[in-house]
Every structure is written in C-alpha cells, then in structure tokens.
C-alpha cells in the first residue's frame, strides 16, 4: 500500500483501476504491488469491463441512503390521553413537594419528595428539619431508583411461590394460632425502627403470645455505646450528640461525617463550626484517631493512625489526665503507655479541658469497657447535658447484640416457634449466617417482610412484601420528642402491603396504615401538644413532616464512676487488625440493588462496583502487591476466608486492613449486563456472582457484642488480578520534581491555609504568582445584562460525602455505565469529587474538591466546537445543545477541568419500570453526544418562569441546583452574581475565595473557598507556594 500512490481524483477513467486478469496472473508488479491479495482474485478473475469497487460503493451508498431517507415519514399518530377526572389541584408537568421522612437508614432525615404527574421523582432535603437541616445523603437521593425496580417483589409468596394475600393471611393466621396455643416462642426481628407506631403495632401483635420478644438487630450496631450508658448512667440509651456546640471534637474511629449513626445531621452540625471569617477567625478543632482512612479522618485537623485495639490505652490515659484535672478520683486500672506522642496527647487534654462543656469525645468501638472510658471523659469534661444529650436521647440505633446472640442460641436449640423478620437480612449480616440459615430451616413458621428475595426471605415460609417507604404511611422518632411522618406519594406498586396493615390483619383487625398511624398520634402525641383539634394537629404534621413535642421534665442520670476501669494493660496485638466498615452510599445490604449507589465512587478510594481489602503501604510492600492484586483474607482459626482485590490506601495504619461490609448481596448479579453491549465490553459481574464479597463472617463475637474490628486475621497474596474500577488514578497535587516549574511544585488547585495564618491575613494561602489579566487571549465580549449565574463551594465545609453526586444523577438523568466502562474512565457523573493526598504517615492530608463544569466566561471548549453545540448564554452559562452536537469531542480535549462526559454508547436501557425514575424535564442524551453540568438549567428556567408568573423579580434562592439543595454541609452556594444582595455574591467577596486555574483567565463562574486547617502551624502542611 505504501509505495502505490493513492487515488485522489474521481475523474480518472473507470478501467484504470481494474487490474487486468493477465497482468495479475503475470504478477505485474506495477499493478499488484501493495494491493492486498484477498482483494485481487475477485477483481482479476472477472471480466475487465467492470465498474470499480469504489465507484460501485459510491453509487450503491447514494442509492441506499436515498432509500433510507425515503423511509422517513410522519411519526405514527400520537395520543394525548387526559384524565377522566382530573385530580384536584394537580397541574400537569408541575412538581409538587410532599414532606416526609427518609427511610434509607434509621437516622430519619427530613425529606421532601418531589412528585410529578403522580410519580415520586426527586428526593430533596427538608430545610426546616431540626436534625438534617436540608441535607440528604446519597442513600436518600437514590431512593427513586430502588422504587422503580422491577425486581422488587410485587406479590406475597408462600413456600417460594407467588400467592394471594387472602391465602397467605389465612395460612399465617392459622399457624400463628397454633403457635399461640402451644405457647411457642415468637421472635420478631427488625432493624432499628424508631417508629412509635410500628413499635406499638409489633408490641400489640406480640401481646397475644406467651413468650414473645421484639429483637432489634443492626447490621452495623452501636450496642456498646448503649450498653456503656446502661452501666455508667443506669439507662440503656444512645446519646444525641450536638456537634454544632462542640469546639473540640476527638473521635476514635467514629466516622460521623460518613456513615456513623446519623451522618447528615452530624455533617450539618459539624460544618457550622468550620467557617472562620475575617472578623472571627474561629473554628472547631477536630482530631481523629483511626486505623483505616475514613471520610471523617480525611477532614480532621489532625489525624493520628491508631489501630482499634489501641483505643483503650489512649482513652485510659485521657481518662486519668482529665480525672486529675477535674479533681475526681482516677478510676482503677492500669494507665499504660499510649502509642501516641505524649506531647500530642497533652495538647489534646489541654484543648479538651479548656473547652469543657463544649467538647465531644466519640468512639466507634464495640467494646463496652472502652465506651465506658469515653463516657467518663465526657463526664469529666461536663459534656453531658451540653454536647452529649441523654435527656432527649437518639433512637437512631437501637440494636441489641445480646438479644440477637440469645436469639441465635434459641434458634440452635430449636426453641423458636415463629420468627418474623422485617427490615433486615439476618442471614447476610450475621457472622454465622450460614449456620443460622440452617437453624432457621427448622423453625415452624418464618415470615419475612422483605421487599425482595434476600437471603432470609429465601428461607422464609411466607414473604409478605412491605411497601416501599416512599409509598407508606409510617412515622419515626429519631430523637426522643421529635416525631416525624412518612406519607405515601403513590399507590403501592404491585400487591405489596404495608407491614402495619399485615400485622393488624393477623390480629383480626382491618385497619389501613393511615388509620393505624393516626391512632397512635391521636393517643400518644396529640395530648402532649393540646392545641386545636386533632385534625388541625394532624394536617399540620402532614404538611410539616415533623412535630417537636415539648421536652419532658429531665431526670438527671448520675454518673457511676465505679463502673469505669482503666484498660491500659490491654496487650496490643502484633498481627494484622481487620476493620470492617460500611461504605458511604452502600451503607446497608438492602441498598446493594441500587445501581446509582453501586457506581458511586467511594469518597476516599474512588472505587466503584466492588469491595476490596484496603491495606497500608507497609503491608503492600510486605506482600509485594499493588492495587488490584488478589489477596486472601482469612481468620487464624481458619473458619472463613475470602479472596478480594487489594487496594493500597494512604494514611492507613500499618497493621490495619479494612474491608467494606454490605457487599456480596444475593441477586446483585442482576448488574451483569448493566453496561453497554459491545465487542470489547466486559460484564460488570459474571452471571450468578454477586457484586463484591460478603465479609460479614469475619465479624467477631466477643463479650456479647459484634466486633467490626478484630485481630487474628492473615492476609496472603493469592496471585491473579481483578482490576478495580477507579474514577481517579492521580492522587497528588505535587508535580514530580524533574518537571516542576520553579515555584509551582504544588499545583494550587486546592488552596489551603491554617487558622493562625488566616487570623493574621484572611487571604493567606493564595498563590504568590500573579498573572496579568489584561493579557487576554479572548476578547471581553460576554456581557451579562441580567443574571450571571455563579457558584461557590466552601472546601472547608465540604466533607466529600458525595450526596451531591447522586442528587445530580437523579436530577439530570445521568446514566449508569457499569464497571467495565468506569475502568475505561468513561463514567458519566457530572460532578466528580477530586481527592488529593499530601504528606506521609500520620501527616497524610486529604483534600476533597467537587469539580463540575466551571462555566467559564472564556470557555476553551466553546472556541473549538465546530458546530456551535457548546455556546455561551448571556447569563454566564456554558450551554450544551445535545441535538447540535456531532461528537467530535474537541471540547472535552480542550477543557482544562476535564469535566465533559461523552456518551460513547446508548447507556439507557429499555427498562420501562426503571425509566420512570428519569426526570422528564431533562433530555435523555443519545449516543455520540457530549454532556456536562448545566447548573441545573431546567431548575433555573423553572424559577424564572415561576417568578414571571407571579409577577415578581427572581429572588435569591429561587433557583437552586440539585447538588446545592441537598448538600448536608451547606458547602455549595449558588445564585446570581450580578445581584449584590445574593448569597453567592457575598461568598465571592470572601477573602478565601479563589478560582481554579485562575491564571489562565478562563474566568470560571464556579469559585471555591480555601481550606483552613485548625492547626498551630503558621503554614499549611504541604501548602501552596510558601
């Protein structure tokens, strides 16, 4: 091919391109040279008087394209079907919000359910809610996708076969009567449920049996905190922590910004104290001791690596020092030598003592003795009644491990006559699930309320599917005295039935869930308020979504110091320490069927679609492994082992290996073909193999509690690899020395400073290099006469929790692409949260930076688009017109922020049920077009239209982006920069304000507020251009 000149002209005679038969047979080099042989024989064996292949293709192509074009006709008649009777007040196409409560986890955050044309579509945080304050986490945002899931059970099941409710009810009532007559033991297992109505219903249901108990089982329980309070304060309770009142927070492993108890509430409260201003350079001080790298640890001012078996020693030391300071008797026991520098601990003791009553010490240990030490510290500091509230305790985790262990014993002894399980999967989440499954097989009556066939439901005689929480009347009481309502937004899908109705039916009553809830409220809560009629009270409650009941007379619980024992003599293990945790997003196994959450990058590791063994660099070196190498994790006892890919995690304790729970869930092999189907596509998982591996068998049982941290495990290299689907592979802002320009060894994308430096100069941390903005490549031709939409993200508040990511996905119809496409760096999320590491060892710092389209005024993408598919609006937005885009991808190449996403395939699957979760206000992008953050232009337009309709000017806050709306930390501000009264205008004047890559004069509309570390240092560790 190479030495034969290519044809360029079409005017050449046709026969010039035909190889004569004789020439070919004679092997005429001038003709045959370079022509691939497989093309030759056909041409040469035919008669010379033929049309050339090319000419034929030209003509044929033209004819075919004409034929194809002539196939274009008017689309089939389309019908516009109106209602027969229009429901009052429903405007077609308009979003109506209903107040409700999130049931994604027991934290029970306030929820506004956006309902459009009778379908719940978008979950938003409820700004008035006293706990979540407008925030909503990724799990809550992802609820619609689990609602519109065709694999949910739609009919009750009897003996693993579809059945009708009347048959099931009859059989169950018959069998329950038998159990009652025989006096058999009835055990009702639920996850934590703070619902007063459900708890009352269960109690009422169990009332008719002689031996009946309601057992609360949490997949990740906090039982030790409750038990410790039983010991030290006489009452088994979980305190309500007030992070907004805490000036010093010392956390031992508690991932309160990520997954611990009530992360949205805690993030909202914590972020309040993370805003130093020029006038008041003051912010909370947050120290984290932990073994693995948690989201909370990544945001701490100081983070010290400490394996969980060393917490006891450090806490004992703190107890001793603080007891002495408080002038109280030091509890008995050995103090020991803490493995943390004495100066560090002394500094912490000083800080804690200075902020007595305004500090908070937390621990996630499942060891009751350790939790007692924490209680003692909070007691010496006078935090009880202030930051640690036990008068209005939290009901967000009520799991009782002792009860569960007793149940397991009873099951083994064959003592249980009937087992009812709701809202939790005992078999998947218990360490000895397999043996429990066997014992459950011999229980005469097992009823599951699961909405899909989980491990337990597969062993149940009856499955009575509960309705999805978005479709149910129910209530919750996250904090004693704060009662909230769940209201249905659609009729139950299929023939599911609320658990309240099932229980009532089996008790011989025929009440609807609404009636049952109303009855509880009328009896229990209305008398406490006594204002107006019950109907008024109820309607107010349904409208608001919650009711704050007057505080009961507080009873002070006396602290019993003699129950505390110092544990300094605990021998620290030399071997590996396993930390089992739940991932942000996939917090419980019931969410494993949610593709949005499966594809949500872990905020720290950025891994999607997998769990893995996170190891320290030391272990990795020891075992000679790199990311993605398969390793075998096994217990010393040899009773369980699992093969998982490894991931080297910076900042992890040398002895700690960490694995996420809630993976390996039955039925998640449904995601096998979730990605696009193409030649080189690899399935997300092999059919029949769930996503990830279940590591619940590694949970240790010790002194009556489930331990998520344990020793006695070994890690060996298995050989073989499993590439992890990671969305971020660059970890550092430090440029390698060999190529770094002078003065720019550290890129200033994430700018940071320290509190002392900030106090001196609020603009501290700004890069020193100056650029001449007059030196412009672009003309200043972007007049914005009306609005200029802009956004500011406070990096000091942003915890990286990724709630915004799912909010955006839900709002903007962002597709799920599957593991293989993520591995090819083709994930489609419009927001990515960049995570950068700096430092080593204890000094590892993590920075999170949400990065989406920056809507540059001088947008480099716009200048290269050959078809003007991406252009600038006169309101400062960088617009993407999908139907104009031809997919050259020039814009993505020219984007300095790398925020454009290309539709390599048609990602949306033809799943009619799943498609109901799509937002009708946003185009579903087709294959071959570019997309990116639009700053929720549909919301802006709706806000503008609404203002116009009301005849008012657009007010600040009318237009909210999806990410901003539900940010638990309120880190995102959005609005009109031209409006000097707007909040975003205000933040843009903040001395911490900067814009990424400002020096290139792209003039982005998105700005960031610099990170301020509360450390004593004058300069940020690994700071910028110092």
């Amino acid at each position: 091919m190479t030495n034969k000149p290519m044809r360029t002209s079409r005017s050449r005679p046709v026969d010039r391109h035909v190889v004569p038969a004789d020439a070919a047979s004679a092997g005429d080099a001038s003709h045959t040279d370079g022509i691939p042989h497989r093309e030759l024989p056909l041409a040469s064996q035919r008669n010379a008087a033929q049309v050339s292949r090319r000419r034929f293709l030209e003509a044929a192509g033209f004819t075919f394209s004409l034929a194809a074009l002539s196939g274009c006709r008017r689309a089939d008649e389309e019908f516009a079907l109106p209602f027969v009777e229009q429901p009052a007040g429903r405007v077609p196409g308009a979003m109506t919000e209903y107040a409700s409560t999130c049931a994604g986890c027991p934290a029970a955050c306030g929820l506004l359910i956006g309902v459009r044309d009778g379908r719940p579509l978008k979950m938003e945080g409820m700004p008035e809610h006293p706990l979540s304050r407008g925030g909503l986490c990724a799990v809550g945002q992802a609820l619609p996708l689990s609602l519109y899931d065709r694999l949910r059970l739609t009919v009750p099941q009897q003996a693993q076969k579809d059945a009708t409710w009347s048959d099931v009810d009859k059989a169950i009532m018959q069998q329950l009567d038998d159990v009652a007559k025989k006096g058999g033991a009835v055990r009702f297992v639920t996850g934590t449920t703070s619902s007063p109505t459900l708890n009352a219903s269960i109690a009422q249901f169990l009332d008719r049996f002689e031996d009946a108990r309601h057992i609360t089982f949490d997949a990740i329980s906090c039982t030790a905190i409750l038990d410790a309070h039983k010991a030290t304060h006489g009452k088994r309770l979980l305190p309500h922590f007030h992070f907004d009142l805490a000036e010093v927070i010392v956390s031992f492993g508690a991932d309160f910004l990520g997954t611990w108890i009530s992360p949205v509430e805690y993030t909202a409260a914590w972020s309040k104290n993370r805003v130093p201003t020029a006038d008041d350079a003051h912010m909370s001080y947050h120290v984290q001791f932990e073994g693995r790298m948690s989201l909370t640890g990544s945001k701490a001012d100081h983070r010290y690596r400490l394996a969980s078996d060393q917490y006891a020693v450090v806490l004992s030391y703190l107890v001793k020092r603080l007891a002495t300071r408080a002038g109280q008797t030091v509890p008995e026991g050995t103090v020991g030598t803490p493995p943390v520098a004495p100066a560090v601990l002394s500094g912490i003791v000083d800080r804690l003592w200075q902020t007595r009553g305004k500090s908070l010490v937390l621990c996630d240990s499942q060891d009751v003795e350790v939790q007692k030490l924490v209680n003692a510290i909070n007691h010496y500091l006078g935090n009880y009644g202030k930051t640690v509230d036990i008068n209005r305790p939290s009901l967000q985790r009520q799991g009782n491990d002792a009860d569960v262990l007793q149940l397991i014993e009873e099951l083994e002894d064959g003592k249980v006559g009937a087992l009812l399980v709701a809202g939790t999967d005992l078999i998947h989440n218990l360490p000895n699930g397999a043996s429990v499954a066997e014992t459950i097989g011999s229980v005469p009556l097992v009823i599951s309320f699961a909405d899909r066939l989980d491990d337990l439901a597969a062993h149940a005689h009856f499955v009575c599917p509960d309705v999805h929480p978005l479709l149910a009347w129910l209530d919750a009481e996250p904090i004693r005295g704060l009662v909230t309502l769940l209201q249905p937004t659609m009729r139950p899908l299929g023939k599911t039935r609320p658990i309240l109705e099932s229980l009532a039916r089996w008790n011989g009553q025929d009440f609807s869930a609404l009636q049952i809830v109303q009855k509880t409220w009328e009896k229990q809560f209305y008398p406490q308020v006594k204002k107006g009629s019950f109907r008024d009270f109820w309607e107010r409650a349904v409208h608001d979504g919650f009711v704050e009941l007057p505080l009961e007379q507080s009873r002070t619980a006396e602290f019993q110091a003699d129950r505390v024992k110092l544990l300094g003599d605990r021998p620290a293990s030399k071997g590996l320490s396993l930390a089992l945790y739940s991932k942000v997003g996939l917090s419980e196994s019931c969410h494993a069927h949610n593709a949005w959450l499966q594809e949500l990058p872990d905020p720290i590791t950025k891994v999607t679609w997998d769990n893995y063994v996170a190891v320290s660099a030391a272990v990795a070196e020891d075992l000679q492994i790199v990311d993605g190498d398969l390793v075998t994790l096994a217990t010393d006892a040899g009773n369980c082992s699992v093969d998982l890919p490894a991931l080297v995690q910076r900042g992890q304790h040398d002895r700690v290996v960490a694995v996420a729970l809630a993976y390996g869930v039955k039925g998640t092999d449904r995601f096998a073909n979730i990605g696009p189907e193409w030649l080189e596509g690899r399935p997300t998982t092999v059919k029949g193999t769930p996503i990830g591996k279940n590591v619940a068998p590694f949970i240790a049982t010790q002194n009556g509690t489930f331990r998520y941290a344990r020793d006695g495990v070994t890690l060996t290299k298995k050989g073989g690899r499993q590439d992890l689907a990671v969305t971020q592979t660059y970890d550092s802002l430090t440029v390698p020395k060999s190529v770094a320009p002078r003065g720019a060894e550290v890129r200033d994308l994430v700018q940071k400073t320290t509190l002392p430096a900030f106090a001196k100069d609020p603009s501290a941390g700004a890069p020193h290099h100056h650029h001449d903005s007059a030196d412009q490549l672009w003309p200043d031709d972007h007049p914005k006469p009306r609005a200029s939409w802009g956004m500011t993200i406070d990096l000091n508040k942003c915890s990286g929790c990724s709630a915004c990511l799912i909010a955006c996905q839900s709002e903007n119809n962002v597709p799920v692409v599957g593991r293989d496409e993520v591995r090819r760096r083709r994930e489609m999320h419009w927001i990515r949260i960049d995570r950068y590491y700096s430092g080593e060892g204890d000094a590892v710092r993590v920075d999170h930076q949400p990065m989406m389209c920056q809507h540059c005024d001088n947008a480099p993408c716009e200048t290269v688009c050959p078809v003007l598919a991406t252009v600038h609006s006169d309101e400062g937005l960088n617009e993407q017109a999908y139907n104009r885009c031809v997919g050259t991808r020039y814009c993505a190449n020219n984007c300095p922020y790398k925020v454009r996403r290309f539709n390599w395939f048609k990602y949306q699957h033809d799943d009619e049920v799943q498609n109901l979760a799509l937002n009708p206000d946003v185009t579903v992008r087709m294959r071959g077009v570019m997309e990116k953050c639009s700053m929720c232009i549909q919301r802006i337009e709706q806000a503008k239209i609404g203002a116009r309709r009301r005849g008012e000017p657009l007010a600040d806050g009318d237009a909210q982006t999806a990410c901003q709306q539900s940010c638990p930390a309120h880190a995102i501000t959005f609005g009109n920069l031209n409006d000097s009264a707007s909040q975003v205008h205000d933040t843009a004047q903040n001395p911490r304000y900067y814009r990424v890559l400002e020096e290139f004069n792209f003039r982005p509309s998105v700005g960031y507020l610099r990170v301020v570390d509360n450390s004593d240092a004058e300069e940020a560790e690994n700071g910028n251009h110092v």
Binding site: A49, V51, A67, P82, P92, G93, T923
Partner: protein
C-alpha cells in the same frame, strides 16, 4: 457494454430512489412540515362551536395553560361540567329554541307571564339558560366539585347556567337523540356510563384517546404559563382555533419561527410591555 448496463441499472435505482425520497419528503417529519396537520379526532369536537359561537374562554377547558408547562387536554369531567346538563345536539337545541321562541310569542299573545328563568346573570345565558336538562343528583355534585382552577375561571358562565337550566321543564333523554347524531356517546363511554348517562356495573372509565396535534420535537421544552404571563394570546401560536371545526396546526412551530418571535418581542415588546424573550439555547433545550 456490461458497464453501461450497470450504469443504467444504477441510474434506474437512482430514479426510483429520488422518486421515493420525493414522496417521502412530502410527509417528512420536520417541524415546519407539520403545518396544517389536522388529524381526525375520536370525537368530532368543534372548537368553532364551543370557543367561537358559544364564546367559551380557551382557559375554561385548557386551564393548566396559565399554571404550568402544559396546556393540557381537558379531562372528561371538564366536558361533563356542561354536558351534564346540555345533552342535545346543537341542531336540536336550535330547533328547540325556535320552538320556545314561538311558544313564548304565543304565550305573550295570550297574555301569560314570561316563563324565562330569573337567573340570567351570565351574558350569554340566552343561549343556554333555556336548554332542557336532565335533573340528576350527580350533576350538581360534580359541578360543585370542580376544582379551584375552574372556579377561578372568568368564564364560569356555562357552569352557572346549570341552575337555570334545571328549571326547564322538559327533560330530554340522550336516548331520544339519534345515536348517529349524538356526539356525546363517546363522552359517556369514557366515563363508563351508558347512552342514558347511567353508570354501568363493571364498566371502567377510560380516557378519550385524543390525537396529539401540536407535537414539539423531543429536545425542546416549552412552557405555556410564561407565554401567557407576558400576554401572548393563544391565537398567536395556535391560530384562529375558534373558527376551526377540527383543530389543525396553524403555525410551523419550527425553531426559526420561535426565535423570530422571541427576537421581535425583545425588540418591540409584547402588548406594550418590555420583555426579555431569551434566545439562549438553554432557554428551550436542556
């Protein structure tokens, strides 16, 4: 020779291709090719009669137009707000009215008092107040049940006429009307009623399958309410619907047509008001 044959074959192919392209183009689906599209509807509903002759405001039925994105196809119960009491055809009605006029004249000649209903606040009550009606329990209920949107309507005239009509003495059953003539049957059908407007056991209500006339491309988001808020009349885009027997697409509804109007409106204002009709891509495409 052979080459010529092939050329001829290709040319013939080309000819037929062009021919079919040409015929295909005639019905090709481009926005401006939809102009004049007037599909046959399941009910021969006459906008000319209702909006033109009877003068019912567009927004009485298309009430959602000023509240949200979609103007909305009226639900069957909106039709029944009037047709609960108005059950005869227009022709019959006119004949009835003539007969009534004659009767009145005769009565006046006899010196008897006027039998006309006293409730005639509605300006056009002359056309409807004397309409015969079935006095039916459900009829009134449904009228009062009408949602707030309709109550707000300035043209609640026809609904009011129910009370007046109820005073008329001679009820006419729908069965008395020739089924060929009775256009209300599909309406009853939709509500699950029989020809006499009585509920039929086991018969389900179902929506009337109106054929969509104005069908915008998939990528465009149009909001009725904002256009109404700035004072654009319905006719400006939909044409003289009040004179159309069967609705047809009057304007091209192409992007060029939209933008021309947006530019003009920004330049000249709408009804003397200054407006900023956006011409950004994302004003409509997102």
């Amino acid at each position: 020779m052979q080459q010529r044959v092939i050329t001829i074959v290709l040319l013939i192919g080309l000819f037929f291709g062009l021919l079919s392209l040409g015929s295909g183009m005639m019905s090709w689906r481009l926005p401006d090719r939809e102009q004049g599209y007037a599909p046959v509807q399941p009910i021969d509903y006459s906008h000319r009669l209702h909006a033109g002759e009877l003068g019912i405001d567009c927004r009485f039925c298309h009430w959602a137009a000023y509240r949200g994105r979609y103007a909305g196809i009226p639900s069957t119960d909106i039709c029944m707000k009037c047709h609960d009491v108005v059950t005869m055809t227009w022709g019959q009605f006119q004949a009835f009215q003539e007969a009534a006029e004659k009767e009145k004249e005769a009565a006046q000649a006899d010196g008897q008092p006027d039998s006309k209903a006293p409730d005639s606040k509605a300006p056009d009550s002359t056309t409807t107040s004397k309409a015969p009606a079935r006095t039916k329990g459900t009829g009134k209920k449904r009228a009062t049940e009408g949602n707030a949107a309709v109550a707000e309507q300035e043209s609640g005239k026809t609904a009011k006429s129910g009370a007046a009509a109820a005073k008329a003495t001679k009820p006419v059953s729908a069965t008395e009307i020739d089924p060929q003539e009775n256009k209300l049957l599909p309406l009853y059908e939709s509500l699950g009623l029989d020809a006499d407007a009585k509920p039929v056991a086991g018969k389900q209500a179902h929506p009337i399958p109106w054929v969509r006339v104005h069908n915008l491309p998939d990528f465009v988001y149009f909001d009725h309410s904002v256009h109404m808020a700035v004072g654009i009349s319905c006719q400006q885009c939909h044409g003289p619907v009040e004179s159309m027997e069967r609705v047809r697409q009057f304007e091209s509804l192409s992007m060029g047509w939209c933008i021309t109007c947006h530019r003009d409106s920004t330049k000249n204002g709408v009804n003397g008001r200054v407006v900023n009709a956006p011409t950004n891509c994302t004003a409509c495409h997102y």
